[in-house]
């Protein structure tokens, strides 16, 4: 069946009705999860991840403690029901470990770890559903979870996948597309326009790389906008809740908003 679906048909539509440069729906939920210091649930198309952040807190493992900065500890678990074929993956699955390591190395230059020497920040990534663009979803959710935890970041990290079908670039691939076309994942810091992660598992023609890379960087900005609104909404809601106890001040809100907009 899968081979029967056209990745990009003559009308310029992809198999799910999107066009080349259209990203899937992103829904972000930043509600508090239990005892976690910060958490974010991100639904990107049919991919859904939940990231919880604990810390910065005292490092448990003395051996891995660094005297001048905090350690980022990323643990990832993939729910057995997250794919069509029900399969239990152990935590030691190489693929999962690799992805966790990639997330850690993506955030190492972004999180201001030097502010918290001899401590660690735990990031737990739970994959609830997957349908392509898993790594970008994890990275985006981790950014948001770190933000809600109040961990100082230099910038957002926004990731997106891009692929090339024949000569046409596509953004934000589904599993179906990832299986068919060569693709790469790019994570950008939208304000500084720095790139913290580029990864490819398939071969891509060198002449296509530039175009796709630039496009993915641009798509990072679009995702940033979406994430920014989510953080703002959440903050506004929280501030409102705080104010609701004392006094309501809508105009005040507005001012804060402007200030925040500048910062994030």
């Amino acid at each position: 069946m899968s081979s029967r679906i056209e990745i990009l048909n003559d009308g310029g539509y992809r198999s799910d009705g999107r066009k080349q440069y259209e990203l899937r729906d992103i829904t972000i939920d930043l509600t508090q999860q239990g005892t976690a210091d910060g958490s974010a649930q991100l639904t990107h198309g049919l991919t859904q991840v939940l990231v919880t952040v604990f810390g910065p807190r005292e490092a448990k493992m003395r051996s891995q403690t660094l005297h001048d900065r905090a350690v980022l500890n990323v643990e990832m678990s993939v729910a057995p029901f997250s794919t069509g074929e029900r399969r239990k993956r152990s935590r030691a699955d190489r693929r999962i470990l690799e992805m966790a390591a990639m997330i850690a190395s993506t955030f190492e230059p972004v999180v201001q770890t030097n502010l918290y020497p001899r401590s660690q920040i735990d990031i737990y990534v739970h994959v609830l559903q997957q349908d392509g663009s898993l790594l970008p979803a994890c990275i985006n959710a981790t950014t948001l979870a770190l933000v809600t935890a109040g961990v100082p970041l230099l910038d957002f990290v926004c990731a997106v996948t891009g692929g090339v079908h024949s000569t046409s670039p596509l953004l934000d691939l589904t599993t179906l597309e990832e299986n068919d076309v060569p693709h790469m994942t790019v994570a950008v810091m939208p304000r500084t326009r720095k790139v913290t992660l580029v990864t490819m598992e398939t071969r891509l023609h060198v002449e296509r790389f530039r175009e796709l890379f630039e496009l993915a960087c641009e798509a990072g900005q679009t995702i940033h906008r979406e994430m920014k609104y989510a953080v703002k909404d959440r903050t506004v809601a929280l501030v409102n809740a705080m104010d609701a106890g004392s006094k309501g001040g809508a105009a005040d809100d507005h001012d804060r908003d402007v200030v925040m907009d500048d910062r994030i």
Binding site: M1, S2, S3, R4, E6, I7, N9, D10, G11, Y13, S15, D16, G17, R18, Q20, Y21, E22, L23, R24, D25, I26, T27, G45, L46, G84, E85, R86, Q129, D131, V164, H165, S166, L171, N179, D180, V181, P182, T202, H205, E214, L215, E218, A219, Q221, T222, I223, E226
Partner: protein, 990 residues
Amino acid sequence: MPEISIRKRPRTEAVVTQRKFFKKTARGKVVKVLRERYLRDDVACGMHSCTLCASSQDAVLPSSGSLDHPSFPSGHFVLPDTNIFLSQMDLMESPKFNPPTIILQTVMEEVRHRSLPLYNRLKALVKADDKNIWVFYNEYRSETAVIREEGESPNDRNDRGIRKATSWYNSHLSLARPPVRGQSRPPLPVVVLMSDDVANRQKAEKEGLSCVSVRKYVEGRKDSNGLLDLLAAAGSDNLDPTPAAAARQALYPDYLPTTTLLAGVKSGRLHQGHFNANQYNYLEGSVPVPGFEKPVLLVGREHMNRAVQGDVVAVEVFDEKDWKAPADEVVDQEATLKNDDADDSEEETDDDEALAEQKMLRAEAVKRAESSKQPTGRVVGIIKRNWRSYVCHIDSTSLTSTNPTSLSQQTVFATPVSRLLPRIRLRTRQAPALVGQKILVTIDRWERTSRYPEGHFVRALGKVQSKEAEQESLLLEFDVPYRPFGKAILDCLPVEGDNWVVPPKNPVDPNWKDREDLRDLIICSIDPPGCQDIDDALHARRLPNGNIEAGVHIADVSHFVHPDTPMDSEAAARGTTVYLVDKRIDMLPALLGTNLCSLRPHVERLAFSVIWELSPDAKIVDVRFTKSVIASKSAFTYEEAQIRKDDPGLSDELTESIRLLNDLARKLREQRMAAGALNLASPEVKIQLDSPESSDPVDVEQKELRETNSLVEEFMLLANISVARKIQETFPQTAVLRRHLPPPRTNFEKLQDILRRRKGMTLDVSSSGALAASLDKCVDPNEPAFNTLVRIMATRCMLSAEYFCSGSVARDTFGHYGLASPIYTHFTSPIRRYADVLAHRQLAAAIGYAPLHASLHSKSHVERVLEVVNKRHRMAQMASRASVEFYVGLALKARSSKATVIEDAYVIRAFRNGLGVFVSRLGIEGLVTFKHEIQFDADNYTITVPAGGQEITISVFDKVKVEVEVEQDKNTQRGRVVMALSQPIDSRSL
């Protein structure tokens, strides 16, 4: 930078935007699949100047529709249903049929699921310039998207989607033209649903849509006449709902268990034999079995029951009343099944099969002479599969995506180069890259539920038509071992290598032990030009008593190749040297073959000599065999020897000895002919290569035969016969001999019948002598080539010669039919034939030179070795023939690029829809097919072709002119020779 946006999908509408289904993977696991889709409002309707759709600059549909159909005076658009494309594609493709057409995405996808070849045609159609076709992506438009309801079949869902889109279009048309106040509303064009599905039409009418069947629509048109022809026969009015739902029904009967098969064969209820596919008709095969004189005919796919060329099968023979004559029609798999789909056998409809079956039935209806009936049967089990790797091409129409970057797994068809094999279904991730290449494919299995066998890709051989790929594919196809010799084998060579020489004469030296010193004899060799592996040399001289001493000296290969060494087993496995046009695959390492064993002139070489004393009228007085040392005085080509012999100015010893040999050879030949030897003909051509490096064929010419060819031939025959007698006497149980069984008389029946009816000639096949005599009489004074043609056809009726072990068959079957000799072996070419090496060893033992190796005393061992050698020999012949054919093709291509190639040809077979012709100048056979109906008279072997009023009759043996072309198959890139009649009538229009 293009605009990048995030599409929003309301989560509350998950019912519409999300789809959940289960599917079974190839490994049988059930997987849950969840898909989403994004519904949008910007899917354009494709009408010119539509006020509602934003981007309509590339719209192709005229805003008022087509006004030239009388049933729809206010203008209309056609919206065809899926079944229109599945059955009426020819009509849709016709340039005369171009109403403004809307094709729905639902329809495109349904066609894609049903048949990829049709889908590819549909895609080409959409892109065609002269058509007004707009593809409407209805599944992505929010108003027209449908979801499958509970208990609704996919087909019904699609039909509903099509109706919904039709009604949306109609309302869209009216919305796009809001009534202007004060003006009467102009009549709106309608979107007409065109469907051959009655149920769908009824539902559409109920919903108030206008709909029409294809036939009615075309009939209603003003120019209906030309188009009505294009309508396919109105098949079932409603499309078979879902073939997928009809489940995988078994296409073939089950095999019987092995024990039942073996018991059945033993009891005689079943018959065992090799399955042979028919190369002209893929729906027919035959199995020659010992129980019947004629092979058992298997008609139809079901009765062949998944047997593949070469398999050992068990067949059940039907009652005699069901026996049939073989079909006399050419049925091409590619032509008949071109719309078949590779992906799933469950989607194979019965249409094409029914079509082929129909043809078969028609052929059957013709009453054939009782004599041509053959036992028919069906395969009930496979005793042994003989599957190997096959050289194939990917069928490009079976590809889902030809996008070279696509990495997705695809199921495609691989078409074997050999016409005897069925197409193989293949799953690969690199299909687009493999198109246009020769690839090696192995069959893995053939399930009962699948029409085609399933296989896997082994490796790519290279671009089609490149010489390397063609050469390698040829070697693989004929199973020729062509790897370079390994170290263990090369270690068996003499350590001196190239510098090895016969040591100086010394009776205690093992090289000289029991060897005669014949270095002083005037010995020469005569071979084809460019021959490097010279394995025979000759001499002749007058003896004082008036008799003549003649000697044949054969390279002493057994001196270098000892039994039970790696080199020996490799040579046994290779069996023979294979000669291709531009390459030789050696049986022995080149050091031996072209140097140490090769009887090159002016060097001393070891030999095995057969020396006769012959009376002046070439009767054998005495014969002796001895190992010897010779020094050839000269290596001639046939041509040089001929010129030397004919030059009256020369009278040196060498020339005299050639004359003497020639004299004797003539007499030997006369004796042989008198004994009833056959003079057969086979079509042999020679490829002229440009230069050894470029190996571009320049031209094809027929081989020329000189007197000296027959000189060498006669002495080789004489040596072989003498050696055969000697080794058979000494080793009656294990002698390596060669025989040619007399052909069964029934083999000649057809040729005899054709000759009698067409030419009034008779062929006496009672013995080889009688056959030779009657072949001599088959002469048409107007057609000098006719005799050769009859000889070629007679040769084809015969069995092939084979090696055998003297202890394994009855003494009275030793004879060689073609040579009319009671006993025969191969002794004279040990460098290139392994059987000769064995004969050398046996002869050496017979003259007490060396003890015979134990393995050559064992009957079973000799039998086993000879079986391999026989097979290799056959394969080598086919390989070199195929190589010649390939080069003939190349030469033809080079020639036909300059001018059309027209050659004389003889008709050798007549079919219901074509002629088999033989082009003697090129040595190739071809097929001329007629597309239209022709009259075929099976009893008189004639066909009658209507040609502009009068009728022209062509019969077997007629001389015609054909235009020969090399055409590249578009799908498989396979180059093939295509012939068309140019005289007496041009067949291309027929």
